[in-house]
Amino acid sequence: MTGLPEAGFVGLSAALVAVGLFGILTRRNFVLLLIAIEIAMNAAILNFVYFAAFAPTPGEGLAGQAAAVVLVGFAATEVAVGLAIVLALNRAKGTINVAEATELRL
């Protein structure tokens, strides 16, 4: 697994985080917001997979890959919860614009 371009992978991860953060900060549509969160999260998963390749023993490398699989599961769960909130929000306010969901303000 050697010979992978390190700077390229780390740079890819950083780019994904940046894109995700940009989406999180700019989107008002809740669904798009969720997608942006997923993009940022995938950067973390990618890092796990990538750095697992550099593990001194294959066993330890496996731990990184396992973490990646678990995180994929988490991401799915999170999206499920997020979409449930979207539905509830839509039902309650007739919109999925997050800027209008301000009831919890002091």
Partner: protein, 613 residues
Amino acid sequence: MVLGLLIGIGEGFSPGRTTNVQILWLHLPPSAQFPNGFSLVMGTLVDPLSALVLMVVTVVGFLVLLYSIGYMHQDRGLARYYAELSLFLASMSALVVANNLLEFFLFWELVGVCSYFLIGFYYEKPSAASAAKEAFLVTRVGDVMFLLGIFLYFYLYAAAGPAGLGGWAANGFVFVHNGQPFLAGATSSSTLATVAGLMILGGAAGKSAQFPLHVWLPDAMEGPTTVSALIHAATMVAAGVYLLAVTSVFLGFTSFDQLVIVAIGGFTAFFAATMAVVHPDIKRVIAYSTISQLGYMVLAVGAGFTAVGLYHLFTHAFFKALLFLAAGSVIHAVGTQDLFKMGGLRRSMRLTSVAFAVGGLALAGIPPFAGFWSKDDILASVYSQLGAHPLYWPFFLLAFAAVFLTAYYIFRAWFLAFSGSGPRDPSLPHAHEGPWTMQVPLVVLSVLAAGAGMFAFLPGFANLLERGPGIPPHFGTTEILLSGASLALAVGGIALAWALWGNGRVYALPASSPAQAVRRLLLERYYFKAAYDWIGARGVNTVARAADFFDVYVIDGVVHGFEGAFGGLSDRLRRIQSGVVSDYASYLVAGLIGVFALLLLIAPFLLARVGGG
């Protein structure tokens, strides 16, 4: 009363006996500072010194209680009156037999508060209420000094090392522990010992109304006359003298202290007598006289003649109580205290007029009445000490001159009230004697006032006076000359009073005479009261205003400043909570970036440390 007399007689016939009973009140375990631990005890100490004063307290107390039945019979607050008077008598007796300084101070405060209650007995009257307050506050100045004096003596014992302090503190300041006056030793010249003595003197001056804390006693006459007789003539005000006596016997004064005490005593004796000369109020004349006589006692104690001072305390208690009760009898009969409205009472109140005359003769020092013996003892004793310090001279002369004034003012009062053909103010009710409860005390006190001076010749009584230093000097030629001189002064005073006021005459000063200014000065009490009021009103007010300013603008300012700052801050911070998810997200990101930036900044240092470790 019977108990008090028995104790007195018992003490008299067993010379030098002291009985000390005490219980442990509080004990602190030994420490580095107090190697023997520290104890507080409550106890009674009966020795000749306290037995003498105890007799005075119980006898006069009983007579006043009896007299009050008649004098106060139509008063609404009778139950309150007797309750307060009983509390006073109990605490006064306890004060006299207290066996340590702290216990002494405790009961000292108790008699003070009783005095406050009783001066303000007619509390509906504004003047009575303010007089009570004044008495309480002025004596409080003295009390604080007294307490400081106790602390200082305690400190002195601490400085004396384990032997001194260990003994005294472990025994709880008990007087009887040290047979010798403490300051007779090496520390007698130390500044602290002097200050401690002066503090004790301050306490005594407050209680005994000595200059400059004398202002409260004349105003204390707002209370019932019986109270004036018991508290402000015979007993409580004498507690200050008793304190000085106890301190000089058990602790000792330095020579500078003695000089100051002599100065205050001698000066007060004269100073108060001058104010009595012009006053129109029968009770206040006697009140000034009390201050003056207390000055004599202080003078004697200061010159080192404790026994002589207490001897005068003893005789003074009887004739002054007699004067007050006789005055009370007059007030009871005519309903006014103004001497210039009275007159001719000799016809309708024969017993009272005789009693007042006996008291007056005793006060003036005409033999064989009581005051002659004790007052001349004082003058002779101080005279024998004149060599001790050149400054004793002026105060001795002042005290000597006061003899003349004393005789004059008391007989001026007598002539104004009792001589002549009838009252100057015809609207006065027809006077008559009080009931037997008022007459019996007058008779008993008259006998005592006439005879108490000769008690010193009784074999048992002489023993009572032999505690501590200051046995009266034996009578020699000098003393007889001295007595003759003071007797001449006293007779001269009486003669002058008769010439000016006798037979119902009224002597009026020419309106334009310079003497009018003097009279005015005396009536205004040398403007001391006005000055104190001014200090009270201006001085205390200024301090209070400054404190108020500080409170409002500095303390409250700081508090309100904090409040405003945090209020404003929270108002700003509140706006952050917009409720918009994106905003929160951006704060989150900003925070994240901040943390990363910080890590980047400090990373070199962290790495350096790891590398170094």
